[in-house]
């Protein structure tokens, strides 16, 4: 018996020590995971519809994406995500087959093959200064079999061959203060007109020969008032500018090289004067000016005369003008009216001729129209039809055609700023869940198919049927809570201030909501979303209430801008209330206290050093005052290198009558010498993380106590020289120092210095360990270091007698005031890739072993067992250590392709990974966001507590039936035998 137990235990140890890597069969793709591809808020759009075949639109976005979209369905044909500092300035199509993009402030010009997105050529352009950049692809300019592209950027004007990207000529415009505004090219001439301003007061026109780049003529004229910079080119020889006071429109004519100014007071043409603003669209012989929230269309006559032709009271969005038949140009304008938007296409010359008037019902939660791009097509009856691509305030992209939305893309999800997960409602008795489930026969059939599949006996058609069956597997998309907690809502807050609820089953949008400013004031029309917090999660009290989240927003990008709080019901997606809080938001601290309705108490720190308590109820105040002495917080000043600890002082009633406002006092400061250390990264543990046990048993039956404190702060500093990019410093000049600081007392518990290393540092902090990734300049490789911290003050509690006699200090309260005796262990490894972000899996009870989720530079996510980053790894682990699961030490961490959780997908532009526990201990939700979204479920130690999806119930049934039959047969046989024995 003892032997059997031993064998069993050995087997168990063997099984558990086998390296479990998360891996997937190819036919399991899409069972638990989903992937959504986005591009971001569109900046420019160019239609390509002339030729027969695929109609497409080329777009460039604020996420630095250039993409080709299918105009019929809105799907992505191809897309490229450029580097984060490679913002796209312009996009166009050249030669009918290349997409040209200008990026990095006009210094990088690339050509992409239109059908498949392959890069054809890339040219780096000379630049000497920062300036705005212009890309112009003349359609009819031809120089010696070549089609030049005219690019201005960085003070230089370049002509680049469209065929191979060769620079044909370049012209230096780096004179003091010269800024090019427009490059115009009259049709049928090889002369290019370059108009610019010198010191914002002198208009200069260069005439440049497009063949050689030589200046043919140059004229300049001083305008005494000065220009404001905004410019609208109305025709080939005229532009209109505003003067520096924004009250005079100046028409600059440069016909045949002569410059002429013509001034028109805005107050002369419109009654209500005010600061004017030129709207950017390119309209021919027409100008759109915004004065006092009114949009005014001004026609520019032949002699530069200005005349108002139309004025609209509502705010509108306009497209550039587009040539339609018979030398006429049309443009589109969109304005709102109630819940509808009105799209109008008018002729530029004759505003009364409306070519198209459509009203489309629009979702309120898309906000206003930001941009319009139009394209025309010839209908079967030879008239013009129009399609309009519109970009909404929530960054979504819609194609309108024939009075309907043909397709829409939720591009707001490309800029997720914060994510949290919430539960779905419990299934009610009234809601029949059974409807979705199959009848018993169908269920059996399905399992028979699965059995065939697992025995690899299925025919190809059956394999397809199995795959289909699995993908729409019964309950995974239901909108109710499930037993395992696999179904949840992922709440994602986007930069546009929209909140999305995504279903974990298939990633569909359950509801979405655009944040509204509570005051509707002029200054704050639409707050930016910053963070999401769980506000109310009823599970003991207030069960009749729906859970809600707190969205913290801000009016404007400045950190001192006033904050906005919004409370959103999670089940319905309705805003419960919102308030202008009247103070800035620097830091939001969820407190570990809830009131009787399970609303969590939050503290919000402002720029003046005060903290404000929310919710503003007397009950919350009394709870808070009870714990007044125990509330501490800290601030990190990354610029001055100081970390400060604060405690509550008193109510700030002396200054204001607000009893929910408190002043604070400074408790401690940690000052890093600015000449040698610069803070580059700080990190704390997740406040809601669960640690299963504090004790850790070693191989030699030794006991270690993890130092599990929620008040630990990880700080990484580098020498100021090493704060730049890799390659800018020598190993001698740079060093990296990491600290573990107690945030209550400011005590530095551990300090570790890495000579010859530099950032960026990506770290993850969980339980009692920190893992961080940085660059080792000496080896010229990335390194990963793990630091584990143990509590030595409890190390004495090993003796059983002490425990029995009660002479232990296990029940003594843990306090930050007592000086902790800690023991740290650390180890470093090489890692073969750059890292964008690191996260860690989390489970309900914290029993399951953990995996690091490493977002690599290739936008994949690698799941790495925590056992690989264990400071107890040695070169030759003893037998006992091997049995415990300690892996022999290697100098670098393995990258096993099967353990990429994203398998053959990429999460382009990866920025963050979020892990949330399911109800099943073995499993965790993983959600990654960037330009793309990706979700999957992971089981770091395999699903030991449930049957896998692949489990064949049919096989089990067959076995049981076979066993029963065997029992029956043997029983009959044995009875016969007994009978014959009795006869004998």
């Amino acid at each position: 018996m003892a032997m059997a137990i031993r064998v069993f235990l050995l087997l168990l140890i063997f099984l558990s020590s086998a390296i479990v890597s998360f891996s997937l069969y190819e036919d399991q793709v899409g069972l638990m995971d989903w992937h959504q591809r986005y591009i971001g808020k569109v900046k420019h759009a160019v239609f390509h519809t002339q030729k027969t075949g695929r109609k497409r639109v080329i777009v460039s976005t604020e996420e630095n994406v250039v993409a080709s979209l299918d105009l019929r369905l809105g799907e992505i044909f191809w897309r490229h995500v450029l580097g984060t500092k490679d913002a796209i300035d312009g996009v166009d199509i050249a030669l009918g087959k290349y997409v040209i993009t200008l990026s990095s402030e006009g210094t990088t010009l690339r050509a992409w093959n239109l059908p498949d997105g392959q890069m054809v050529w890339e040219t780096s352009l000379h630049s000497a200064q920062h300036s705005k950049s212009l890309l112009s692809v003349p359609t009819n300019l031809k120089v010696d079999k070549d089609y030049p592209i005219i690019v201005f950027g960085g003070g230089y004007l370049h002509a680049v061959s469209a065929i191979d990207g060769e620079v044909l000529w370049k012209k230096d415009f780096t004179e003091e203060g010269f800024e090019i505004q427009r490059v115009l090219q009259p049709p049928g001439s090889s002369i290019i007109y370059v108009l610019g301003f010198l010191n914002s007061s002198e208009a200069v026109v260069y005439q440049i020969d497009s063949k050689s780049g030589e200046v043919v003529a140059q004229k300049s004229m001083v305008f005494p008032g000065g220009f404001s910079g905004e410019i609208s080119s109305v025709s080939n020889d005229k532009v209109v500018v505003l003067d520096s006071t924004r009250s005079i429109l100046v028409t600059i004519g440069f016909l045949d090289g002569d410059i002429s100014f013509q001034k028109t007071q805005i107050s002369d043409i419109v009654e209500d004067s005010g600061k004017a603003e030129i709207l950017s669209p390119l309209l021919s012989n027409m100008l759109a000016v915004k004065v006092n929230k009114r949009t005014i269309f001004v026609r520019v006559g032949g002699e530069g005369k200005l005349e108002v032709v139309d004025s609209l009271s509502d705010e509108i969005a306009m497209s550039d003008s587009l040539p339609v038949a018979d030398d006429q140009e049309a443009f589109a304008s969109v304005h709102h009216e109630g819940s509808k938007i009105h799209l109008m296409v008018k002729l530029v010359n004759d505003l009364d001729t409306v070519l198209l008037r459509e009203s489309i019902q629009m979702d309120q939660h898309r906000g206003r129209v930001h941009k319009v791009f139009i394209n025309n097509y010839i209908r079967t009856d030879r008239t013009n039809g129009f399609r309009a691509l519109i970009v909404m305030e929530d960054h979504s992209l819609l194609l309108l055609q024939q009075g309907a939305i043909v397709w829409s893309r939720e591009e707001g999800l490309a800029s997720v700023t914060d994510v949290t997960t919430v539960e779905l409602p419990v299934a009610k008795d009234g809601v029949s869940v059974a409807k979705v489930e199959h009848t018993l026969l169908e269920w059996l059939k399905g399992h028979m198919l699965k059995l065939k599949g697992s025995l690899l006996l299925a025919s190809p058609e059956e394999v397809v049927a199995i795959q289909e069956l699995r993908l729409k597997s019964s309950g995974k998309n239901k909108l109710t809570r499930d037993h395992n907690g696999f179904r949840k809502l992922i709440l994602a807050l986007t930069r546009a201030g929209k909140l999305f609820a995504l279903h974990t089953g298939d990633g569909r949008i359950v509801w979405s909501m655009l944040l509204n400013s509570p005051s509707k004031s002029e200054a704050c029309e639409r707050p930016n979303g910053i963070n999401l917090y769980q506000w109310q999660v009823p599970h003991h009290h207030a069960m009749d209430k729906n859970p809600s989240v707190l969205v913290v927003g801000r009016c404007g990008s400045d950190s001192s801008a006033p904050g906005v709080l919004s409370f959103v019901d999670v089940y319905t997606g309705k805003e419960l209330s919102s308030s202008d809080i009247g103070h800035s938001v620097v830091q939001v601290m969820p407190l570990p206290f809830t009131d009787s309705t399970e609303q969590r108490l939050h503290l919000i720190a402002d720029t003046d050093g005060h903290v404000h308590l929310y919710p503003k109820t007397s009950e919350a105040l009394s709870i808070f005052q009870r714990e007044f002495q125990n509330v501490y917080w800290y601030t990190v000043g990354a610029d001055d290198g100081i970390i400060r600890g604060h405690a509550m002082k008193s109510s700030c009633s002396g200054e204001t009558a607000d009893e929910y406002c408190f002043s604070t006092r400074e408790l401690w400061t940690v000052v890093f010498p600015s000449e040698s250390e610069k803070i580059i990264s700080t990190l704390t543990r997740k406040p809601n993380e669960v640690v299963h046990t504090q004790a850790k048993v070693n191989t030699d039956q030794d006991l270690l106590y993890k130092y599990v404190s929620k008040n630990l702060l990880f700080v990484a500093t580098v020498s100021p020289k090493g704060a730049g990019e890799i390659g800018s410093v020598t190993p001698e000049e740079s060093s990296l120092v990491v600290y573990l600081i107690d945030t209550i007392t400011g005590r530095i518990l551990h300090r570790l210095s890495h000579q010859g290393c530099q950032g960026p540092v990506h770290a993850v902090f969980s339980e009692n360990w920190v893992v961080y990734h940085y660059f080792n300049l000496r080896a010229h490789k990335y390194e990963v270091t793990v630091v584990e911290i143990y509590d030595q003050s409890r190390a004495e509690n090993k003796n059983v007698w002490k425990l029995i006699l009660g002479k232990h200090n296990l029940t003594a309260p843990i306090t930050s005031y007592s000086r902790p005796e800690v023991l740290t262990k650390s180890q470093s490894y090489f890692f073969a890739q750059s890292v964008k972000t690191i996260a860690v899996t989390s489970t309900t009870k914290g029993i399951t072993s953990k995996q690091l989720l490493i977002g690599t530079i290739g936008d994949q996510i690698l799941a790495l067992d925590k056992r690989f980053v264990d400071p107890r790894r040695t070169l030759n682990p003893s037998q006992a250590e091997k049995e415990e699961g300690i892996i022999p030490l290697t100098d670098s961490l393995p990258i096993i392709p099967q353990s990429y959780v994203t398998h053959s997908l990429k999460v382009e532009g990866l920025r963050g990974i979020v892990a949330a526990p399911t109800k099943l201990e073995s499993t965790t939700h993983v959600f990654a966001y960037g330009v793309d979204l990706f979700y999957t479920r992971l089981a770091p130690s395999k699903t030991y507590d449930s049957l896998t999806d692949d489990f064949s119930y049919a096989l089990l049934l067959i076995t049981i039936v076979a066993l029963v039959a065997a029992i029956y047969i043997t029983w009959v046989l044995s009875e016969k035998k007994e009978l014959s024995e009795k006869w004998r």
Binding site: E26, T107, E122, A128, L455, S904, W971, E975
Partner: protein
């Protein structure tokens, strides 16, 4: 700049490439006070038969210094980083289905932008900046074809195997026992009453 014969585009590209390499290695241009150079290299992916990913250059990114600059491949596999200061840099290649070693690239200021490259994983130095994958990456487990062993190894198979052993091998073992001992044992059993299978089903009596 150079007269290019357009009738032969391949030749033209070669001329262009040679020009680029020439410029990169010998004539780095400088801008402002700080010298900056170009790094030109090539990514070579061997033709692959792996199902699921084809070697497409359009999906390959070349990354300098952990994301500071990103560039893409031209149809012939060449890439160039422009305006790189002298110093030691790191180039990574991101291509689905392949693992590339990061490359340490030293751009020398003294030798006017001379480029020296070393694979950091294998510590192999490269004479030319031609990057080849260290290995192919297979992201999926391969389903093993149906075989008897997998059934036998499964828990149910083990169960069945054990039963078979008990049913067929135990009697064989019994045979080897000395017949007298056997008789004794049988008698002993008879005295205690033999539990037969039928006795388990009292209803059948």
């Amino acid at each position: 700049m150079t007269p290019i014969i357009r009738s032969n585009s391949v030749l033209a590209f070669f001329v262009f490439q040679i020009c680029l390499i020439f410029f990169a290695s010998t004539l780095p241009y400088s801008s402002g006070s700080e010298d900056s150079y170009s790094i030109t290299g090539r990514v070579k992916i061997p033709p692959s038969n792996v199902i699921g990913h084809t070697a497409k250059f359009s999906n390959v990114k070349v990354i300098l210094n952990g994301g500071k600059k990103i560039t893409f491949l031209r149809p012939d596999g060449y890439f160039t980083f422009h305006k790189v200061p002298a110093g030691t840099h790191l180039i990574e290649v991101s291509a689905m289905g392949y693992f590339f070693s990061p490359v340490r690239v030293d751009v020398s200021a003294r030798h006017r932008g001379k480029v020296q490259a070393t694979l950091t994983e294998t510590r192999r130095s490269l004479t030319e900046l031609v990057l080849e994958p260290l290995r192919e990456e297979q992201y999926y487990e391969i389903r093993e074809p149906f075989n008897i062993m997998s059934i036998v190894k499964s828990p149910m198979g083990l169960m069945v195997g054990f039963m078979v052993v008990v049913v067929f091998l135990m009697p064989k073992l019994m045979e080897n026992i000395d017949p007298e001992e056997m008789k004794q044992a049988q008698e002993e059993m008879r005295r205690q009453g033999v539990p037969s299978l039928t006795s388990l089903f009292p209803a059948s009596r």
